[in-house]
């Protein structure tokens, strides 16, 4: 098998590795679905994927195309409704939540609502959907992003989904559940976490062939650097084989 891989395949593999076995993960459309499916096949057979419209514990054999489609409860343990899932999350049962957006700031706040002014938008985006709920109530959220200066900005146009809001203590002050918030940002360049004292983004590891300078150049705000910045391993042959043969045989995300 060729060792070549696409940026999407790298993002999927890195996101997959973040998922832990024997826990719950709120899965949205797209890359998180593939990452969860890959994680189930690799290291997390007992990962419980939860989809917002009611699918719980699916075995992700075929790639879902919608957060409510039949594949989101394929051989699942329950098929309920949106209230059950959102309430399960609100009372603390869901560990990981996956998010994306058009813009992210240093506190991990995300915008998926509007570019420009809300009243007179330059681009009207799809809106919160379940993202605000995932960002409010899941214990640890992971943002999956394309890394450039248009997306990693000092100030987002609209705060759709809460990260650490304005810094330490601000989530709790707003009324959001304690000890929750952003955990990782996985991008095509690197993996980031958050600085404990300031709750702002911190570079942890870079992707194969990527330099720290490149990450800094493509980030529109000041980034903390971990004391020791490591390198992410490229996708293994086994990851790529499972991804291409089983998870996404039609190559929708290649």
């Amino acid at each position: 098998m060729s060792n070549e891989y696409s940026p999407s395949e790298l993002l999927i593999c890195l996101s997959s590795r973040v998922m832990e076995d024997g826990t719950t993960a709120f899965i949205g459309t797209g890359i998180p679905m593939l990452a969860a499916s890959l994680a189930q096949a690799m290291h997390a057979p007992n990962l419980v994927p939860v989809f917002e419209f009611g699918g719980t514990g699916a075995i992700l054999e075929k790639l879902p195309l919608a957060v409510g489609d039949m594949r989101t409860y394929n051989k699942g343990i329950a098929a309920s409704g949106i209230c059950d899932i959102m309430e399960t999350s609100q009372r603390g049962f869901i560990e990981f939540g996956f998010l994306g957006g058009a813009q992210i700031d240093k506190y991990g706040n995300l915008n998926s609502t509007v570019i420009g002014d809300h009243k007179n938008p330059k681009v009207r985006l799809p809106g919160s959907g379940g993202a605000n709920d995932v960002g409010s109530a899941c214990w640890r959220t992971i943002a999956i992003m394309i890394h450039d200066k248009r997306r990693f900005v000092e100030k987002i146009d609209f705060l759709t989904t809460p990260g650490y809001l304005t810094g330490p203590g601000s989530r709790e002050k707003a009324g959001l559940p304690s000890n929750t918030g952003p955990y990782r940002v996985v991008t095509n360049l690197c993996t980031m976490g958050y600085d404990d004292d300031t709750k702002t983004m911190k570079l942890l590891s870079v992707n194969p062939g990527v330099t720290v300078e490149q990450v800094i150049e493509n980030t529109g705000f000041e980034l903390h650097l971990a004391d020791k910045i490591t390198s992410n391993d490229p996708p293994t042959d086994e990851e790529l084989r499972i991804l291409r043969e089983d998870v996404d045989p039609d190559g929708l995300y290649r």
């Binding site: 409704g81 209230c83 959102m86 799809p126 605000n132 809001l165």
Partner: protein, 325 residues
Amino acid sequence: MNQHSNCIPIVAKGEASLIQPVDMEAFREHNRKKSKALIDKTMTDEEAIERFVNSGDYIGFELYGTVRCPMSLTRALVRSGKTDFKIVGQGVHELDLLFAADMVKEIDFTYIGLEVYGISGNMRRRVESGSVTKVVEWSNAALTWRFKAASMGIPFIPTRSMLGTDTFNKSSAIAVECPFTGKNVALLPALIVDTAFIHVSRADKHGNCQIDGISGFAFEMSRACKNLVISTEEIVDTAEIREHPDKTIIPYYLVDAVVHAPYASWPGEMSGMYERDEPHYKMFVEKQKTQEGMNEYMKEWLYDIPDHKALLEKIGQKHLTELNL
């Protein structure tokens, strides 16, 4: 004197006025008057739209993505010429058709898009041009919990979503200090729609409805509307409903109209019955990118077709059978 014993402090208020004001007494009176008689409520899509929808109403569709969509009713609504609707979305294919026909004035907005296929061109054109005059933001859970509050017969429900965000600031929610815990909670106003549209797996002629697969927010919305119009893949005898009463999500007395509409979710899917028509959907995704393309799509797949039966004939039995699971 302890101030907190006398008032619950408001800590933040969303800027938007309520699109649909809350009146629980009127809702109770409406529900009291609603007929509980076991009558035959079957009718056509067109009759249901004629009888239960007026221009300017607040309407809602229960669906998620392209799954279990009441599309036969949506198309009949577009063809009816009624307009200026207030809507609640969660919207994918059905709202695209309403936007294309420029029928939407105000939106309680959570997600309107094409999921893996990206942003809705129809929604963008109408919202960015100002043709939609009011957009109020919510999260998915918030809108469903607003239905839940109405379903419970209470005027609002406290939750922990939306707090600290612009989603809250551009909503009609109110944050207060919780009188029990002292922490802030977001109060979401109940939402009662004038007419709701829900597509189900099977129903009897009275309107007892069962849904296979996940039930989305059918339970909540069916209890949070003044009029409820059902379309169903199958009409079954009441005896069959009574065989599996545990499967009944919507009892008949909530329902005003029952439309027999097999493959109504097309080009979307129906749990256990048929898959999404991916080639058609991809074609639609291309067409909706421009107004011209969307006009062509609307002409061919909506305006030039008189009703759902004619649509199924155009799609063809062979193609429909291929979609069956």
